[in-house]
Symmetry: C2
Subunit: 347 residues, 2 copies
């Protein structure tokens, strides 16, 4: 192989690679390595090119003992990341190969799990403390106070029910994640699912004085809105969106569920089925949009808690839509209501 061929071969490996010769000069360096170190250093002494202390330590380890050396280091550039470098001597050559593995995501996953535990714990701490306080009062000071008892038990029920919902939501989130790589195989009509949900939430809408409307493009059959889906999961996303619209958009007095077809949807390279859930309530600053689908994120935590919310509803929606290879969009502005849009590939 010519040096050009070797260089081309190394460029076709996704990891950054640096080959150091026996003369301690850089014999080869692929495109990704040049990107990572922002320099194309072929022919130069390695120490003038790779200035990172952790990388130099790994090289030293090999130079001292002929044993592979590894280290991890951070890059502080635009795309901040954590890399694991390993230096391995090249057989019969006196030089060594440095390869760099991007472990940013792995480290991030560990951090996310810890954040998750912290969030869940804090979500539970508050209602549990309240419950314990009420129980103590009912066993002591308010032991003979029937009126206080009724009031307390009512609040306790609300708190316990919310915790129960939190736990169910956590379980369904975890179930959705487990199925995320499996493509759903059932053909079903999004129109029909919307109809079922509308019937189910009618009492909730009435209680909140909200008029529910289900709009479908004229002259289309139910089957025009067929998608490949998991019936329980699709029902859950529509339910979560409509419940949100009623809970947070009640002041607008109406919530519309609109179904339409997109003949040629660029993102799918084919037709799509669209479902919008539109309310005329207070809306929110669009600054929140990118974070709304994070677990436990709320625009107004206090208000969401009061409504029995757990902050997991939209995270579940996002995962289900992603499992269905769909798209999820949010639009809102203060005082102008909010529109939540789901777009799925037509079956």
């Amino acid at each position: 192989m010519s040096p050009e061929q070797t260089a081309a071969a190394l460029d076709a490996i996704p990891q950054p690679l640096v080959l150091i010769g026996a003369d301690m000069r850089i014999a080869a360096m692929n495109a990704r390595a040049s990107e990572l170190f922002r320099v194309a250093g072929i022919g130069r002494h390695y120490a003038t090119v790779l200035r990172n202390p952790a990388v130099l330590d790994a090289i030293d380890a090999v130079l001292k003992g002929d044993r592979p050396g590894t280290a991890r280091f951070y890059t502080g550039d635009s795309r901040e990341g954590t890399w694991r470098v390993s230096a391995i001597p090249v057989r019969g050559d006196g030089g060594m190969m440095l390869s760099f593995e991007d472990v940013t995501d792995v480290e991030h996953a560990g951090q996310m799990r810890r954040d998750f535990v912290t969030n869940v714990s804090h979500e539970l701490k508050t209602p549990l403390t309240a419950l314990l306080g009420f129980i103590e009062t009912l066993r002591g000071p308010a032991r003979e106070d029937a009126a206080a008892r009724d009031r307390f038990l009512e609040i306790m029920e609300k708190e316990a029910a919310r915790m129960n919902r939190l736990v169910s939501d956590l379980l369904s989130l975890s179930r959705v994640e487990t199925t995320e790589r499996l493509r759903p195989t059932e053909k079903l009509s999004l129109r029909e699912i919307a109809g079922t949900v509308v019937n189910a939430v009618r009492p909730m809408a009435d209680a909140a004085d909200v008029v529910l409307r289900l709009e479908t493009e004229e002259g289309l059959e139910t089957s025009a809105f067929d998608v490949m889906g998991d019936p329980d999961q699709l029902q859950q996303i529509v339910l979560n969106l409509v419940e949100n619209a009623i809970k947070y958009g009640a002041s607008g007095g109406e919530v519309t569920i609109r179904l339409s077809l997109r003949e040629r949807e660029a993102v799918f390279r084919g037709p799509g089925v669209q479902l919008d859930v539109i309310d005329k309530g207070e809306g929110f600053d669009p600054i929140h949009i990118p974070r709304l689908t994070e677990r436990f994120y709320r625009v107004d935590t206090h208000r969401s808690r009061e409504q029995g919310g757990t902050g997991l509803g939209l995270a579940i929606v996002k995962h289900i839509v992603s499992r269905h290879r769909g798209r999820f969009r949010i639009e809102s502005a203060p005082g102008e209501g909010a529109t939540f849009t789901i777009l799925l590939p037509a079956a």
Copy 2:
């Protein structure tokens, strides 16, 4: 570079790599790739060597469109694993490079997180359902029944307190994990910590009719048991072990906390401080030992729950000991009590 040099360079890259030439024959294949596919296939047509459908699909993608193709596949050999393969065309050559990334650990981490959520949820579901049931009964059928009320409120308090402990334990587990890579920097005496814990649990031991004994080798000063540690964390491990001994070993009537020095501890290549927590209770089948430090694992789930246990105590102990570069050992046999041993490097 000679073909030998290229081969040696590829062998010094930790990922399995296969270079396919324009003639669709394997031009190079490093040692790890030969290991993965159990064949050294240089010179042969790729399809006779790489028989995995996902790998062949990735190659096809490149052949059809000159675009990188990726796929993931499982290997069913001794060391079962999941790999992500990417096929990238080699510039100006007509061939392509296949590189394989081991994503087993990443997938495993995801699975562990989901198992964790499922476990936590189930741990919470039971007491929450009980709580909701009691609240409902107190608001309805037992509304005027003072005796039932007292009884129910007592159980409710126990359940709520246990959930509260679960949440605190989850938080401390997550905190310990966060600090796991940081070496503790404070010098403190394990003897002193054991003394503090013994005083704190004395009332619990008395209530269980258990005699608590703290034994130290004769003639040694408190500072002989100095270790580098985090005071809160070390206190927590001793507390967890002593509480377990009292809770599950009460029938033995005594619990001994024994401190000793190991002059030359092989695992540390230096002196160690040892703490044993010994009970004479019922013990357990050693078959459980490897799993006892798993989260939520219990020998007898029902009994642990009754005692207010969450099954996280020993998992916390294990993580704290590991952060302190120590060793944790368990010994037991049915009817012969149990001994839990912590060994830390002496300061």
